[in-house]
């Protein structure tokens, strides 16, 4: 399927927004303005943007502990995201969630999640809701290679396949579960091979090639909307940074492996692709786009800093819904 040059530039803008947002989040985390922990998605942007650009606004996704990319790709507001990281009352969760629990149900983003594999069954329930509702919505689960070894992955794929739920399962295989190599924990070479056990298509794509991700997702979404059930897409990718931004976070990954993957940077690849085509993206246009994005990120920090911390007397609010 042909993707218009305008849409390609939109994809690039979203990918670069994820990167710039997280670079700033990391800086402000190390400076002490953001608390707890921050997991950066940098290097994996083509997966979130490639998948979400193949979805409608009312389609739903669920994220992981590494969730900023999925939020931004689905259309979340940078100001409310940054305010949440800053622990302010204007944040998505009124300062009660932080980096690992950003959600925006209005745009179909059912939340980041601090438990590996914790979201897979939740989004499968959204897929069940979509099937009962019958309006053609699909639901997409993002998770990592580590989660594909956990029970919820297998239980959910079995149910989704048995009931032909309108689901797409997207495994972001970044080759490492914290500091444990996936090659030492996966019983199969490709996570996608596990689809065979559930009688559904399992596809391996280059997760740093946004067009490959987009095309695989488009096909899976078409299949899901047609009532033909779920697809498992494994995106081979890599995180450029350590597991978390904590300065003392160890990183055991071989430098040669890191170097090799840095050369496959998904944003560089899309920029090169656009610049190779006459008139698609000049050097000046790319610089201007990046400057705009940096300004948006700066604005989000200003918004966060100008926002109040939640009042201590709000601490018992929202334990229960009215």
């Amino acid at each position: 399927m042909e993707i218009s040059s305008e849409k390609q530039r939109d994809m690039l803008r979203l990918m670069q927004t994820i990167r710039r947002f997280e670079e700033r989040a990391s800086t402000d985390y190390v400076a002490g303005d953001i608390y707890g922990t921050v997991h950066c998605y940098i290097g994996e942007e083509a997966v979130a943007v490639g998948v979400c650009s193949a979805l409608n606004r009312d389609d739903q996704i669920i994220s992981t502990h590494r969730g900023h990319g999925h939020c931004i790709a689905k259309g979340a507001d940078l100001n409310r995201m940054m305010a949440e990281l800053y622990g302010r009352e204007t944040g998505y969760c009124k300062g009660k969630g932080g980096s690992m629990h950003i959600a925006d149900f209005d745009i179909g983003m059912l939340g980041a999640n601090g438990i590996v594999a914790g979201g897979i069954s939740i989004i499968t329930g959204a897929g069940l809701a979509a099937q009962i509702e019958g309006k053609g919505r699909v639901a997409v689960s993002f998770f990592g290679d580590g989660a594909s070894c956990a029970g919820p992955f297998h239980e959910s794929l079995n149910i989704a396949a048995a009931w032909k739920l309108p689901m797409v399962y997207v495994c972001e295989n970044n080759l490492w579960a914290v500091n444990t190599a996936a090659s030492t924990t996966l019983a199969v070479q490709d996570v996608a091979a596990r689809a065979a056990g559930y009688g559904i298509p399992g596809i391996v794509v280059d997760g740093n090639d946004i067009f490959a991700v987009h095309a695989a997702t488009t096909e899976a979404v078409t299949r899901a909307r047609a009532g033909d059930g779920p697809t498992l897409i494994e995106c081979k990718t890599y995180r450029h940074r350590r597991h978390t931004e904590r300065p003392s976070q160890p990183d055991v990954r071989p430098q040669a492996e890191i170097d090799a993957w840095m050369k496959k940077d998904p944003i560089d690849r899309l920029v090169d692709h656009l610049q190779a085509q006459q008139g698609q993206l000049s050097v000046e246009e790319w610089q201007a786009m990046d400057a705009e994005i940096l300004q948006q990120v700066e604005d989000s920090v200003s918004f966060a800093k100008a926002s109040a911390f939640p009042s201590p007397d709000r601490v018992t609010d929202d334990v229960f819904a009215a």
Binding site: Q60, I62, G91, Y92, C93, K94, G95, K96, G97, H101, A103, D104, F105, L110, G111, N113, G114, I115, G118, I120, S121, I122, I123, T124, G125, A126, G127, L128, A129, A130, Q131, I132, E133, A139, G151, P152, E155, S156, N158, I159, A162, W163, D317, D318, V319, F320, A321, A322
Partner: protein
């Protein structure tokens, strides 16, 4: 008034609420035939034996505008879904800043006495009470079962219904007319003036039997059934104890960090109520052991009417 069983009362609640609200649906490892016949296999599904996934799916469906009902069957099976209960369902409304509601009913049986041994004879509601963000009901009669389940399905939060295995066949009056029972309102099952027994589920009936025996001995017993564990009707319990001056708590679960411990504390930490106490608070609970199989062993584990009556006699004779 007509009489129906505790189990039938629960089924009536489901039928009425599923008729009333098309966003309800029912998942369990065996689909109940009366629900399948009425509502079809889209809304009433027999599932794989995957309680973890079902428990999580309820959360996603609830966040998408539905009111799922998940029947774990025995509470035993909820433990394979504890990540979804503890890390997800109980916290998700708060953690996401209250941006959407998660109306879910999780349903299960609790209790022993059926010679089912350790895994299938549990009463672990206090493990769930220890979490913030879950409501829970523990009905003792067919009337309460139906009214509380209807309220639970309409509630906008995750609710766990703990239903007593020993009471499933118990018959009781249930009106034909529509009714619901609000959460957080205890029911005084018997009025009395000398001792308050706060009893849970099956032990409400054992406490009532003990009260009959004790009345013949000249002891007037008040039996309070909290009916919902979260929220707990603290004020009704305290008011009863302020009246009688004595408290016995009867629970089929073990005592350690149990609902019985919570109830005893709610009474003793309130200074106005504490000042009215004429005796120490006593608990009549299961022994703190895994529930054994053989009748000679199981029968000594659980509280019963005799043990409750004995505890009442002790608090009556304390200075």
């Amino acid at each position: 008034m007509r009489q129906i069983s505790y189990a039938a009362a629960g089924m009536e609640a489901f039928i009425e609420e599923m008729e009333r609200d098309p966003t309800t649906f029912h998942l369990s490892t065996d689909a109940p035939p009366p629900l399948v016949e009425r509502f079809g296999t889209s809304r009433v599904r027999g599932t794989p034996i995957a309680e973890g996934a079902l428990t999580g799916m309820a959360i996603g469906a609830a966040g998408s505008g539905f009111r799922p009902i998940i029947d774990w069957r025995m509470v035993t099976f909820s433990f394979v879904a504890m990540d979804q209960v503890v890390n997800q369902a109980s916290k998700i409304h708060y953690m996401f800043g209250g941006q959407t509601k998660f109306p879910i009913l999780y349903r299960c049986t609790v209790g022993g006495g059926l010679r089912m041994a350790a895994q299938h004879s549990q009463s672990p509601y206090s493990m769930f009470m220890n979490l913030a963000g879950l409501k829970m009901i523990l009905p003792s009669t067919p009337y309460d079962t139906k009214g509380l389940l209807k309220t639970a399905i309409r509630d906008n939060n995750p609710v766990i219904s703990f239903e007593s295995t020993r009471l499933l066949t118990m018959m009781g009056e249930v009106p034909e007319e529509e009714y619901t029972i609000p959460f957080g309102v205890a029911d005084i099952k018997r009025e009395g003036k000398d001792v308050t027994i706060v009893a849970l589920a099956w032990l409400v009936h054992e406490a009532l039997a003990a009260a009959e025996t004790l009345e013949a001995e000249g002891i007037s017993v008040e039996v309070v059934d909290p009916r919902t564990l979260v929220p707990m009707d603290t004020e009704t319990i305290r008011a009863s104890v302020r009246k009688t001056g004595r408290l016995v708590v009867a629970d089929e679960a073990g005592p350690t960090c149990g609902a019985s411990a919570e109830i005893a504390t709610l009474v003793t930490e309130d200074s106005a109520t504490f000042k009215c106490l004429k005796a120490s608070v006593r608990r009549v609970c299961a022994l703190q052991v895994p529930i054994p199989y053989s009748p000679t062993l199981e029968d000594v584990v659980f509280p019963n009417r005799e043990k409750i009556a004995a505890a009442v006699r002790v608090v009556m004779t304390e200075a």
